[in-house]
Amino acid sequence: MKVEQISIFIENKSGRLAEITRILGEAGINIRALSLADTSDFGILRLIVNDCAKANSVLKENGFTVSKTEVVAVEVPDRPGGLSAILQTLDREAINVEYMYAFVERCGGNAVIIFRFDETDKAIAALQAQNFNMLEGSRLYNM
């Protein structure tokens, strides 16, 4: 139920994002989902890609600091209150969301939200208990 995400440290200066996407593109890596967290000095680019291990190694070869993180991809019903139901479940279990970002799944009509929790396993169990659908990593990578 866990999805591998890679995070890359980037300095806040022009061309860094272009550089990363160029490296990934040349290595034949497809980006499935991304989010960029930024401060005035630096940013963290978080990516879900079709080949996490390869993305990790080509970026490291090019001198980037990269780390792998486990996140959870939850399918969110595309109707008012869809996300709220998920967050309420987590709140009841006192699970913190460190960050989240959404992307629209092309095959179904639902949205998919990527979550980073403080307690990943506990979050998965709580969401499963409420019958929320979580996407397998393999499905995301190959979408």
Partner: protein, 433 residues
């Protein structure tokens, strides 16, 4: 272990008597042969004969780097050019370089002092000395080279640069002693790691590091990463080159300055007043055996202190403390004196921070600003903003706590701070003062 036991362990009264005799003859010689010294002694109303004790040394005027520049290139030489067999020059980061000349005897003295230094550091005949100090006008390479040969060790004159080749040679040739700048040793460790070479499997036993100020914390870092005993060596081209002073491996506590050839003093850099034992100030050195370019009370601009306390190694020569910096490396930020080495000590004390850093000083309006650039290593990196921000704040707080200066810590991508294969550049001062 000693290279020249008799002189290295000379009882203090005999050592001081020897110093006085050598000082007097040096003064006679410079007064007779160097117009600058004749003029400077005459201006102070002093004849060499007034020096009848070592304490009289303080009556003499100082020699400064500016005096050397004004005499560029050969004005301070005390021996005729026919007797000068070697010429070196300082890096001359500002203006013309300072030029020094050596007679045959100077080269042999230098070689001996460097050989003594190797032995004090724990090296011996049979060692394979990997000499990565630059060969050329800079005194580091050739100074260490001649000392290694006099010791009877096998010296690899690899010089600086081409780090991959350095690592290959260290591995294949079985180098046991490494000589280079401390910052370059860490750069080598980083490159070795990238190449998949484990320093722990190399035969290196001792590293002799100098030519830039470094901290005790950096020593620990180097000793862990390179798996060797790291020894601090001190020297400057004006006085001789490397081997003016060295730590003994027995104590690793202060650097023995070879007092049968140099007389050290510590002064207040602002007033020129002599400071007493243990007080921190500018190191002043008088050479008492040099022929090519003897210097009287040369202001080194290096900040340290002096102790005459006996050392467990048995050497009777005084020790200077680890340099906290060069008085001209010292930054004054909003009135606070800051040495880059102090910031380095704070940084390497924080887990995961690489000892590669850059200090950027600027002025906004009338206020000085200090930015400390730190590389984000894999070990430090978190994909959560708050963790990285907490790291920046920690760097800022520790620097504030230790040095009393407010700074901004800026995290930068790895390997973006310029690496140096010689002396590391740690400061960019953008202030237009």
């Amino acid at each position: 272990m000693f290279f020249n036991e008799e002189f290295e362990t000379l009882p203090r009264p005999a050592l001081e008597a020897l110093q006085l005799k050598r000082l007097q003859s040096t003064l006679e010689r410079v007064y007779a042969n160097v117009p600058f010294y004749k003029a400077s002694f005459d201006a102070a109303g002093i004849k060499p004969s007034v020096v009848t004790s070592l304490a009289d040394l303080q009556k003499l005027p100082f020699t400064t780097k500016q005096n050397m520049r004004d005499s560029y290139p050969y004005g301070l030489f005390a021996a005729p050019m026919e007797e000068i067999v070697r010429i070196h020059a300082s890096s001359g980061t500002t203006g013309k370089p300072t030029v020094v000349g050596y007679t045959k005897k100077d080269i042999s003295t230098w070689s001996e002092l460097m050989a003594r230094s190797f032995v004090a550091a724990g090296a011996h005949k049979g060692d394979i000395i990997h000499n990565a100090y630059g060969y050329g006008l800079f005194t580091g390479g050739l100074g260490a080279h001649y000392g290694a040969e006099m010791l009877g060790a096998s010296v690899i004159p690899i010089s600086g640069g081409n780090t991959k080749r350095q690592i290959m040679i260290m591995q294949d040739f079985g180098s046991t002693v490494l000589t280079c700048t401390p910052s370059y040793s860490l750069f080598m460790a980083e490159e070795a790691q990238a190449e998949g070479v484990d320093f722990k499997k190399l035969k290196l036993r001792v590293g002799i590091f100098g030519a830039e100020p470094w901290s005790e914390e950096m020593r620990n870092e180097i000793e862990t990463k390179l798996n060797l005993s790291a020894i601090d060596i001190y020297g400057l081209s004006e006085i001789m080159g490397p081997g003016v002073a060295i730590e003994c491996i027995e104590a690793k506590k202060g650097l023995h300055i070879w007092e049968d050839h140099f007389i050290p003093e510590i002064i207040n850099p602002d007033t020129g007043a002599l400071l007493s034992e243990g007080e921190r100030g500018e190191l002043v050195i008088t050479t008492i055996t040099k022929q090519g370019i003897p210097l009287i009370r040369y202001r080194t601009r290096d900040i340290t202190s002096l102790t005459y306390e006996p050392c467990i190694c048995g050497r009777t020569h005084a020790r200077i403390a680890r340099m906290s910096g060069r008085s001209d490396d010292m930054l004054i930020i909003r009135g606070v004196n800051v040495f880059p080495s102090q910031i380095e000590a704070v940084l390497v004390g924080i887990e995961g921070i690489e000892p590669h850093y850059m200090l950027i000083v600027d002025r906004q309006g009338t206020l000085d600003t200090l930015t400390v650039q730190v590389e984000v290593s894999e070990q430090l990196f978190s994909d959560e903003i708050k963790v990285l921000q907490a790291l920046s704040r920690r760097v800022e707080k520790e620097i504030k706590d230790m040095l009393g200066v407010t700074c901004t810590a800026r995290l930068v991508e790895p390997k973006t701070i310029q690496r140096s294969e010689g002396k590391a550049k740690r400061v960019i001062d953008n202030r237009k003062l």
